[in-house]
């Protein structure tokens, strides 16, 4: 009799524990999904210059990653250090020229997205595109070697025009 009670108790205790953990979301873990960088990512109505720069960076990374056929996250990590970049280019069989072209394409997409979102006036978008297209290969490589520098330059594009842009902001 005691044996049966012990077995039933074990079953009940086990089911209670597993049931409680499942009810609390124990089986629901899914890593955050990585979005396809080729799919347009909506701009979340940036209000300040900093927010525009943020969206601009994301768009540029998306555009470059799409061009290379990798995720935006993988490209971000690849740009973090020269060693990471080397491993990345070796892994995907990408040379520096292809990487530079992809970064240029990313920057152009960022300008398009900014213009489409109304965050960048066409008056500014045109010269920005021209500047991006004419970035020398070496400079493009230098830009992608350092994520900070990439963004500094992105901000640099906007920086001089910042005061003008602010006039277009809501």
């Amino acid at each position: 009799m005691r044996g049966r009670v012990l077995v039933i108790g074990a079953v009940v205790a086990s089911l209670l524990l597993v049931g409680a953990y499942l009810a609390a979301g124990g089986s629901s873990y899914e890593p955050e999904q990585i979005q396809n960088p080729c799919k347009p990512r909506p701009w979340s109505n940036p209000q300040t210059l900093g927010q525009i720069a943020n969206q601009f960076t994301i768009s540029a990374l998306d555009g470059a990653a799409c061009k290379l056929g990798v995720s935006r996250e993988a490209l971000t990590r690849a740009l973090a250090t020269p060693e990471a970049r080397k491993r990345f280019t070796e892994k995907y069989g990408i040379d520096d020229e292809k990487l530079a072209k992809a970064i240029r394409a990313g920057l152009l997409r960022a300008v398009d997205d900014a213009e489409e979102a109304g965050a960048l006036s066409p008056i500014l978008a045109v010269p920005l595109r021209a500047t991006i297209r004419n970035i020398p290969l070496e400079e493009a490589i230098e830009l992608i070697q350092n994520g900070r520098k990439l963004l500094s330059n992105v901000e640099g594009f906007l920086g001089p025009a910042g005061s003008i842009i602010e006039q277009f902001l809501p």
Partner: protein, 402 residues
């Protein structure tokens, strides 16, 4: 140990349990010293093999010596089984504490005096055997090894080894706890095993105890597989189930395997073999699975973490700096879930930015912790299934009274 247990038991029968235990403990102590002094892996493994030979002789001979001390063969089997179950639960916790407080070598150095102290009371028995010669005890060779009980022991031991091994790994490698903290956390299992030992006194039927124990071990493992959050507190209820379960099932199955069989040392040797074979098979089967899972989860968690960084409202310059530092930490802690705290240092002075960065840090840590926790789920589930499958041989096992 799995290979040496039965031959060691045969030797104990031939030379006498007192002498076998004394020599076994001496070998165990000497090899333990060699383990502690080993300066490369090969020496350590070799010394551990020698230690297993000594340990096998001592443990199986102890079963022959115990009836004289505790009064009966049945009581001896119960005490011997309970000691084995307690040791299995206590080992990882004690090892973790010693590793952190002193060094991993200290685990082996501590074994030397313990083994030698244990040998002292046995010396008089050994001397007596040497003086009088070994009288071949009445050879009640009643039957072959208990197939079903030993098979169940192997399965349950595989599940329990997985519980102990995987949980320690999850705590240290996945959640980045220090070995001493992990040891304190897993000490819940040996403490719960003591409760299980008490239950043994109230339920005589070994098959019921074995079944209940296997169910509790499986339930606890399933609980560990479905942890809703990466917090220590949530590991405690599953550990209680595993701890109580392991003491119930290991002692009940060992008693069943020994019940009505003689010589005790040899059948005890079979139970030792079954348990250690189960541990080896369990680790061999589950290690590649969780290694592959943890690699995949690490990859997914890192991608998810990078996405969290990029999508955060934190200043772009700041977050690319964080991404850079996180990448560096991934390199530094290759193959592990990275400690990301230093990637956020120094925190910005601006209170608003500081709050955003703190939030980002929390989200990123959560992604990594949940990924690491999830990486162990499949292995815990498979281990839980092993425990449940053991119910079949438990159902087929019949207890024979001594």
């Amino acid at each position: 140990m799995a290979l040496a247990a039965v031959p060691a038991a045969l030797l104990a029968r031939r030379v006498g349990p007192g002498r076998a235990a004394a020599v076994g403990l001496a070998i165990f102590a000497g090899a333990g010293l060699a383990c502690g002094l080993a300066d490369d892996l090969s020496t350590l493994v070799l010394a551990r093999c020698v230690q297993a030979l000594g340990g096998a002789a001592a443990v199986t001979a102890a079963l022959e010596l115990l009836p004289a001390t505790v009064g009966s063969e049945r009581r001896a089997a119960t005490v011997w089984a309970a000691a084995g179950a307690t040791g299995a639960a206590l080992g990882p916790a004690l090892g973790g504490i010693l590793t952190e407080l002193v060094s991993w070598q200290s685990i082996f150095f501590l074994q030397v005096p313990v083994a030698l102290i244990a040998a002292v009371p046995i010396l008089s028995v050994a001397k007596h055997e040497a003086a009088t010669g070994v009288i071949e005890p009445e050879l009640r060779r009643t039957g072959r090894p208990h197939l079903w009980a030993n098979l169940a022991l192997a399965m349950v031991s595989a599940a329990i080894a997985a519980a102990l091994f995987l949980l320690v790994l999850l705590l240290i490698e996945g959640w980045r706890l220090s070995p001493i903290t992990a040891a304190i956390v897993v000490s819940v299992m040996p403490l719960s095993a003591l409760v299980g030992t008490k239950l043994t006194e109230y339920v005589a039927d070994a098959r019921s105890r074995a079944a209940a124990g296997a169910i509790l071990v499986s339930g606890g493992l399933a609980g560990l597989a479905f942890l809703p959050k990466a917090t220590i507190a949530l590991t405690i209820p599953p550990q209680i189930l595993v701890g109580v379960g392991l003491s119930l099932v290991l002692s009940a199955l060992t008693e069943t395997a020994l019940g009505g069989r003689a010589p005790q040392a040899i059948h005890g040797g079979w139970t030792i073999s079954a348990r250690h074979a189960g541990v080896v098979i369990g680790l061999l089967a589950l290690t590649p699975i969780f290694t592959a899972d943890i690699d995949q989860q690490r990859h997914d968690a890192i991608n998810a973490g990078t996405a969290v960084i990029l999508d955060s409202p934190v200043n772009p310059l700041l977050k690319l700096g964080v991404a850079e530092k996180v990448s560096e930490r991934l390199e530094e802690e290759k193959g592990k879930v990275p400690t990301i705290g230093p990637a956020f240092e120094p925190l910005p002075d601006n209170p608003a930015e500081r709050a955003e960065v703190e939030q980002l840090k929390g989200e990123l840590q959560d992604q990594l912790d949940r990924g690491a926790t999830h990486a162990f789920s499949t292995s815990f589930i498979l281990a839980a299934l092993l425990g449940l499958i053991a119910l079949f041989p438990i159902a087929l096992s019949k207890e024979v009274e001594l």
